[in-house]
Amino acid sequence: MHISDGIIDANISIVANVVSVGLIYVSGKNTSVQEIPKMGMMGAALFIASLIHFPMAGTSVHLGLFGIAGIILGKRAFPAVFTAVLFQSLIFQHGGLFSVGINSLNMGAGAFAAWMAWRMKILPDPVRAVLAGLLGVLIPVLLMSVEFQLSGYGRGILYLFSVYLVVAVIEGAISFSAVRFMQKVKPELLT
């Protein structure tokens, strides 16, 4: 899910980096002191999540936890996503350093979609939680596959979607469990 340097056009990468910095400002503006530890913890969880990977359909797929990030942090998710992606690139060489912007935008969009799904109060909590987990994977995969397709890489959007649908279901189950757990022990953690 992490795009390496040299895959996407350099101009697009520059624009994505600039947009990311702008989004960090917009998303992190007026953050309260109480929200900062939550953002740090979530950033650390996202940083670790990509290391939990498993083989599938001849490749290797990993968890993202962007659904949970959207549920817990809401509009504050983007700085946490950016921090996690930046350190994954710097420390694990997971995704290119120059591509941190585009990777953050892809994954941040997943967290944002998850937050939107979680805000649909007309749906029961378990449905919202699973939907958030699913969207947290499928939106980044959709964006990434379109970017790959435009750059002449990948085996097509439908193929990628079918592979990552399994990961999305796993993330949906994780989001469901996490939400149930937090509702019991600390409901105010949820946005």
Partner: protein, 181 residues
């Protein structure tokens, strides 16, 4: 009072911490694409892998000669993630590797005139190209800190930055309260 609240929140987050520890202990490995390059004149081998035990098998490889935009050669990695090609000119050869499922990367292999001039046979009598490439000691081992250290480094940096931002914000709020009084 505020410190007590934070400590209480931290206690509730212990399960998340347990998830980190479980992750660290459950055989995780960095997921990005890594390369090993081997030079066996006149052939160059490149191995693409996610981790030591997870090669990038059956991935599409395109080889671009120095300064060229159309591929000089294309093919697929074998089940162990290996690919070999025979460069014909000195310069920077670019290889793109794409498994078709969201993992793609590039590597630049520098070929010198000396490498091209070396007439060492790539295949010795009695063995096969595949065996030689896989057994050769010339393949470079990546020099990284162990993964556990890197995980701890990343966590330390993230928590450190969080702590600094928290301290700055808390200080700003404290100043506002003092001014208000």
């Amino acid at each position: 009072m505020r410190i007590n609240q934070i400590l209480k929140t931290m206690k509730k987050l212990i399960p998340l911490l347990c998830l980190f520890l479980f992750s660290i202990s459950s055989g995780i490995a960095a997921h990005g694409i890594h390369f090993e390059t081997g030079f066996h004149s006149p052939a160059v081998t490149v191995r693409a892998y996610f981790s030591r035990t997870a090669p990038l098998a059956d991935a599409t490889v395109r080889v671009y000669a120095p300064g060229e935009e159309t591929p000089y050669q294309s093919g697929r990695t074998d089940r162990d993630g290996y690919f070999a090609f025979l460069p014909v000119t000195a310069g920077n050869w670019t290889l793109t590797v794409d498994d078709g499922m969201g993992h793609a990367d590039k590597i630049i292999v520098s070929i010198t005139g000396g490498f091209l001039a070396n007439d060492e046979p790539a295949v010795l009598p009695g063995d096969t190209m595949q065996e030689r490439l896989h057994e050769t000691p010339a393949v470079q081992e990546p020099r990284h800190f162990p993964l556990g250290y890197r995980v701890l480094l990343g966590l330390a940096l993230i928590f450190g930055i969080t702590g600094i931002i928290y301290a700055v914000k808390a200080n700003q709020e404290l100043k506002k309260i003092i001014k208000g009084n």
